[in-house]
Symmetry: C3
Subunit: 433 residues, 3 copies
């Protein structure tokens, strides 16, 4: 039986993870990381205790929830956490009381513009409770007394996150970061963790690795900040490029979010791959940022981190609602993201500076590298690439620089590099040593 494509496998993993109720802390996160670790046995899961100071933040108490519902006077559950974990405002405090519609309504959230969608609402740092329902259901609620039950706990505990370090030849590393704090939403955000998982598997399957890889699964914002508070100095020293994985599962468009000032190696590689592989993509400003590049690119942190997404968070109608479900993502959507990101890594791994070993053009004819292009066609395309590569391999220009100068895709130059290396006509300038 043929192995399923990465896209299909990723889609299947999203299906496994979808029902779990996640938050920035709690057992949902642990359960998620445990399932991921079945794919990545070397994944290390860490806990940071409540109260720990992390830069400007403090790790909050841990939130867990068993049940939550609203019953009407007939004892009928009109809102039921077990039907959708989006129904409960994330981090709702325990509640067990009866109240009238007017009071209940102050704790309800819905979307008038999307009357059949349940919104996603959180209240991490402001102790309160609430339920999210569709606008249509809300409008049907009748006067009366409602029984509200939130069987949650907010207690000292810990914040869970995981990381995986894959050793390469160099200490220099590539960062892949994604977040695991969203409840049942597929694109935003199970797509990121699932792509991170399968990228890690793919990286592990490669024979040679120039770079080391740091792959991290954290709750958004506070998790990235907490992680940085432990590892920033090391990451600043070692990270050559990094990518935040988010909203990578739909099949509509491709999007690019730059680092704060742009122009890092991560940005250069991302733009090169997007420009050469994707006919058309959206390029956003850092002013439109919204995920953990906010932390990685903050002043004083300044890691070279950008992001390639499919349709960007906030830009698709299903964003932060119950519509962001298993129908929004697809194996094809995942496969596209997987292919872009494996290309990105391939490009970075091969992105040495190259320099010619002879002055002037080498005599390609005597090495059988000056191939004709077929009847009446002049010299071959391969010869053109070879000749042009040699003309730009000046020891200052990286593979991407050369590919950009030649107007070709960096990966299409790899066979050329192999031919030239075999003839000792170029050598690489490895700036890592």
């Amino acid at each position: 039986m043929q192995e399923k494509s990465a896209g299909v496998q990723m889609y299947n993993l999203v299906k496994d993870l979808f029902p779990i109720c996640r938050s920035i802390t709690g057992d949902g996160v642990r359960q998620t990381l445990k399932i991921i670790s079945q794919h990545l046995p070397a994944l290390k899961i860490h806990e940071i205790p409540t109260g720990q100071r992390c830069f400007d933040w403090v790790i909050p108490q841990e939130w867990n929830i068993k049940d939550a519902y609203v019953k009407n006077e007939s004892g009928e559950k009109i809102i039921d956490f077990h039907e959708s974990n989006l129904h409960i405002v994330n981090y709702s405090i325990p509640v067990d009381k009866d109240l009238d519609l007017k009071e209940l309504d102050q704790h309800l959230h819905s979307l008038p513009q999307q009357p059949d969608a349940i919104p996603y609402v959180t209240s991490y740092f402001d102790p309160s409770w609430g339920f999210c329902i569709t606008e249509n259901k809300r409008n049907q609620l009748k006067d009366g007394i409602y029984s509200v039950k939130v069987d949650s706990s907010i207690e000292d505990g810990s914040l869970s996150y995981a990381d995986l370090f894959i050793k390469g030849e160099s200490e220099k590393e590539i960062l892949i970061s994604t977040y695991t704090c969203h409840p049942s939403m597929a694109n935003n955000e199970l797509s990121g963790p699932v792509l991170a998982t399968f990228l890690a598997k793919w990286i592990l399957s490669q024979k040679n690795r120039r770079y080391s890889y740091r792959i991290i699964f954290v709750p958004e914002t506070i998790g990235a900040i907490a992680y940085l508070s432990y590892h920033m100095d090391e990451m600043k020293k070692k990270t050559v490029a990094g990518f935040v994985l988010t909203c990578v599962g739909d099949d509509r468009s491709y999007s690019y979010m730059p680092s704060r000032k742009g122009g890092t190696l991560a940005d250069q590689a991302a733009l090169h791959v997007l420009a050469n592989k994707i006919s058309d993509f959206e390029s956003y400003s850092f002013l439109n940022r919204g995920s953990d590049e906010r932390q990685y690119c903050a002043p004083g942190v300044d890691l070279p981190v950008c992001s390639i997404m499919r349709t960007k968070y906030g830009e698709f109608p299903e964003y932060h609602t119950s519509y962001d479900d298993l129908t929004l993502v697809s194996p094809e959507g995942f496969q596209g993201s997987f292919d872009i990101h494996t290309d990105l890594i391939r490009v970075l791994e091969a992105n040495y500076k190259y320099v010619t070993t002879v002055f002037g053009e080498p005599q390609l004819g005597k090495r059988n590298l000056r191939q004709a292009g077929g009847a009446g066609k002049g010299l071959s395309a391969n010869y053109q690439l070879i000749s042009n590569f040699l003309a730009y391999a000046d020891g200052d220009s990286s593979l991407i620089d050369i590919a950009d100068a030649l107007g070709v895709y960096a990966l299409d130059l790899l066979p050329v590099i192999d031919q030239l290396k075999a003839q000792n006509l170029i050598k690489l300038v490895d700036e890592l040593e």
Copy 2:
């Protein structure tokens, strides 16, 4: 009684100064500076004696004039200095003789294209005399003998100029320069001296001043050169930005004249204020220069000086004619220039580099800085500004840099800076110490 607007007060001062016959030297300049000093008691008036060498120039003899006219055979004054001091060529030597029309005509200046305008003509360094009249009047002159009288003196004396130094916290200073050598023309050039006067009053009224201010009133060209010959080294050391004030009284357009190479702090601030406050403005090349930026930006001087005007000299039809009178300028025109220049100073005063005090985003929620934007509107505009300001406050970027990156007006960030300073979330990097 309500205080009159700056625009109205400026217009009134122009009315006071308009009748005086000014030149590059002489009592008209002294009288002008004396009236200005009634508004600026700390203004210092200086005299440079005839014969003093100033760089490539020598201070000329002083010119004064009491009367000048041309009478026809009937003894009728057909040209009379007392009707318009533009009638006499500036620096005309004394004359008292009769001559025929042919000879007289060689001393007349008029404008065929503007037959009702009296042109403004000077002859500072070429001893001669002449009268300026309208083309229509000139055409009506009949053959006959005319009596010409120029009751002027050209004698050793001095060149008068004034400056005002306003001390700030720093020795670094902002230069404001304008010129006082034009006879009765309103926009070019009483508008510059009058704006300089009211800017100086406004600067003196401010409580805190980061920068010191050097405000100078000189005759154009030779005055700026003479001033530089005494103060250039000091000005090169201290000047962070400077502005030439000229043609700031009409109400038609706004114009920008860059420094020689552009890109100085003065240019950056001027362009930022113009782009954000004025929907549309003319941007000129330094090749179109024509006022004292010619001296301040000369090779080897290279002060960071540019100019914001209303309609630029040479670009309005009334330029250098009797049409440049009190109807060409207006309180509204002056108010616009005053507002632009006070904004310019406000921006420069606040143009520190700022740096965040925490790594990663601070927790704005616990400081009540993460305000909601009203029903269904997400987070507030104030929160967006705060969040974006923090993302760009990297210690290398000045207020203007940050404002440009954010696409907002620098002055609109001042409340944000106050909120962040109050929370100790940013500190300023003061490069002046």
Copy 3:
């Protein structure tokens, strides 16, 4: 009798050189260089022996040819080297045998798209033989036995090239390089050697020379590589700008081939001259390179070399065929190239940095440099140039920089420079000392 224009003289020299059968080695090259040396008595002719290693290349055996033909069964010469030396594949080995049409045909080259043109084919490094004929003639060949005779020799000998060194005040030099390896083709490539010859004559005729000149005549590719293998270090130290002369004899367009990265002094001067003298020209990418800039701009060599052509090699239909004959080039075509290149040299010779000798504007009036522009015209164009030149003569800007800033042609500033030097208002900053 009036001396003929450079264009006519150049055309006449092409006519003299056209019949000679040249290659990368052999007596045809020597004969060509000897004729050129009649115009340039100081030209030095050099020989590099067969077998000499030059960077990645080895000097090949020398090829000479006396005769070559194909006879049909009637003894009639159906292909005759003496009718066109393009008929023989350059570097064909000796042949003397009979063969049938099928076998002969494997040694024939023609152009189906240009059925009346004889193509130009070489086989320098692959021992073989062949004939080039028109497609129409080839199609008329009948079955039968053909006698083939190639009376050539490939034997140890040498590669011939020539250079001329013209001493200037400075050791810094300008490189002019062209190639002499093509048989009877006029534009590509007798135009380059002929222009080089007349440029050298013109340079020798100039009274003062700031720069020294290195003018070299080499076979393309291997000759440039061989020359570099002897002189590269010296050339890297001394060369301020260089130009490859090729395809400069037709009268259709002007073209620019940049150095590898562009932006060298050679590029700046070439673009300045083209932009100011030619209304419209083609600007190519270095990816379209094809002549000896391939060697001079190779990584590690990196000489500041670019190329101004008329219609670029490969871009005109007659390229590398018998159509590239004496009707393709013209005195007018040559004169245009001569004028461009003499201007280029004039601009480079005058391309000092200039600096004003006084602070602020000098008083031009007292030096009679503040000329009026004629009735009602303000100040003269000469005054405008003077004033603008002074405003930009800051000691960092070269003549070309200043001319570009002023939007004028550098050579039009030479009279201004003379006037300002005569008044001691500018001095030159000679960075060569």
